[in-house]
Symmetry: C2
Subunit: 399 residues, 2 copies
């Protein structure tokens, strides 16, 4: 490969849906994923939702011969679920945790308890520096009334900022992961616009797999069919994105997805389809300058749109903070009134009421603190976006 002026890189990306005790046929699927990765011999493997460190260690043991380098990103109590396997040496790693990740009281979704984050590994292949990012953003759950949109936008913004700030010495940037957004969503447009990353599916010379490149499809036996009712073909929410920074070009020769079942098997790898890209990286004569123009104008629109959505989320968070605060004050007054009045009720009901009032007080205080933090993070993101718009507009008026 050293002698070849063109580097060919095969990348595998999959949300593995490997949650102990919860995901169906987990061990069987993890074994299947491991067997396939060993057989196919990709150059780079980016996995999400490997929540159990034991699953990672099993994969590592199985893949050691084919992928001698790997990294598991640890974070929070549960972990980040992110890991990378590589044929080439990993030189360095860094993990960044998103500041917002859903609501603690949405227990059925559980996102809040997982340390959603973005992992960076730096890999050098034939003298070319690759900054490889793997991430998993907050899920959508309900497209019509998407309460999580502002949180996902904050995550998309933080992801874009983290990539921009850490990739300045890279020759090539790769991002793989479950972004939980449709290709035309404002978060994807923001991420792509603000980082300059290109979508391997849109750029691919050849494509093979689910129609429209969908990665959550009805004919995968593990997907929840009701959630996909509005989308008969499925949805595309798992991505491989890339760009060349300095004097390199990257082209996507081929993009593939699995199609509901693992190749040659009777069950799928996961409830998500795997995305597999073959990239061509070539050195070119001179560095491409960052030209101004149409792209910048579109970017101003996208950042403005995202900022508006974050503003909507901010006002909702401010309302919720106020409600939780008022509830806490009322509960505190209730507790005090009960104490002052002695025991006007029979003993048992009094104890129950006191318990209830104290419970409500604790809960609403906790909620108030949570929404206070949420307000701060949304304000911070809105301010950063405002700063970005100022800088963009200055560049446009200068250029």
């Amino acid at each position: 490969m050293e002698a070849d002026p063109t580097l060919r890189l095969r990348v595998f990306d999959l949300n593995c849906w490997a949650i102990r005790y919860l995901s169906k046929r987990r061990q069987e699927r993890v074994r299947l994923i491991g067997d396939t990765l060993r057989r196919e011999g990709f150059d780079l493997v980016l996995l999400q939702e490997v929540w159990s460190e034991r699953d990672y260690r099993d994969l590592k043991a199985k893949l050691g011969g084919c992928y001698p380098f790997s990294h598991y990103f640890r974070s929070g109590v549960i972990g980040s679920g992110l890991c990378v396997f590589s044929k080439f040496p990993i030189l360095d790693t860094l993990l960044y945790q998103y500041s917002l990740n859903g609501y603690p009281y949405m227990l059925q979704h559980g996102d809040w308890f997982c340390g959603k984050s973005v992992g960076l590994v730096i890999i050098k292949i034939s003298g070319i520096i690759f900054n490889v990012y793997v991430t998993h953003l907050h899920a959508e759950y309900c497209r019509e009334k998407d309460a999580y949109l502002p949180h996902r936008l904050v995550q998309a913004w933080e992801l874009a900022q983290f990539i921009r700030h850490t990739s300045k010495a890279a020759d090539v940037v790769l991002l793989g992961g479950d972004l939980n957004m449709h290709p035309e969503d404002v978060g994807i447009r923001l991420l792509r616009g603000w980082t300059g990353l290109r979508d391997a599916f849109a750029e691919a010379t050849r494509f093979e797999g689910c129609e429209d490149g969908c990665t959550l499809v009805p004919n995968n036996c593990f997907t929840v069919k009701a959630e996909l009712l509005p989308f008969p073909l499925g949805i595309r929410i798992d991505y491989i994105l890339y760009k060349a920074i300095s004097s390199f070009t990257v082209k996507c020769e081929e993009l593939k997805t699995t199609t509901g079942t693992a190749p040659g098997m009777d069950i799928p790898f996961s409830d998500h389809e795997a995305v597999m890209a073959t990239l061509h990286i070539q050195k070119q004569g001179q560095a491409v300058g960052a030209g101004l123009g149409a792209a910048e104008l579109t970017l101003v629109d996208v950042v403005t749109e995202a900022r508006t959505e974050v503003g909507v989320g901010l006002r909702a968070a401010q309302r919720q903070r106020y409600s939780a605060g008022r509830m806490a004050v009322l509960a505190a007054l209730g507790v005090l009134a009960g104490l002052a009045a002695g025991q006007p009720f029979p003993k048992l009901s009094f104890s129950l009421l006191a318990f209830l009032a104290v419970g409500v007080l604790l809960l609403s205080t906790g909620l108030h603190l949570f929404h206070t933090m949420e307000v701060k993070m949304l304000q911070g993101t809105e301010e950063q976006m405002r700063m970005a718009l100022r800088v963009l507009q200055e560049r446009l008026s200068d250029g």
Copy 2:
């Protein structure tokens, strides 16, 4: 300044100790800090422990004329306490939260509740890109038996990694803040070695201020005298560090500290002394290559030493995780036994015992989760350090 081949930059750094309801004479001191900053007209002001956003807004209103650009880093419920005022436009910002920050049950120290983090602002002055970092690491509290050393080392490592990964397009890197470590401590040596940052105090041509550059001194009326008993001169824990990345050189012409009271006043700005540096930045003919040699060998030693300390912390955390887990199991058994036995005790003592058992169960489960997270973060850091040592040793054997 555009025409001058040498750029002269005056930097001010201070831990403001501005905690509402807790810090003595806070409002008076914040006013004093604002007045001095306006009068002195520094180029860059890096503040820590500005916990109240209202204090920031008051400063911003007062300093708008002299420092038209500023940024307050929001994070967590309480915030990061970090802010920056600048004469020159701030182009971009990024905040990174450390993964470990003391113990939730050490209520008297309270660090756990503050979102300890490092803020980055990017500033362009006369075409030179400055990456300016401001941070505040976990305090020490007890030097003899420093239970927080592993956490502070994780923070120092994460700070160094964050600076390395985000500063690759910078011409000059500046770091100001309360690092809560003595100059010879392993954390400072790790930070300096791993980033290449130099200590303005050690490099300064002229120095004026507290002996040995101390920033926590006995003749500051707000310092806790008992804590400084082993150090009659005080200790130096607030720093301005710098380095030039590309074809620039930075020199520290002058370093000053306040000396217990604010210049011309009868009270100090804070319980910490302010650090003020005058830096000379000059373009030089060619970029300085990253030479191998003595520095790399020292670095191997420092990273090894830090890794040993993190390993000690890891084993302590594993023991504490085990104890908390065992306690949780015992408490759960107690609750179950009580339920099974009916009420062998008089009613009141039974209720009290049940309450106690449930309380212990909740508490020990919480502790178990916390130490699980602590173990993961310490393991993660140890692994990153091992990777760093591998890369360093490969470079040494290649070079």
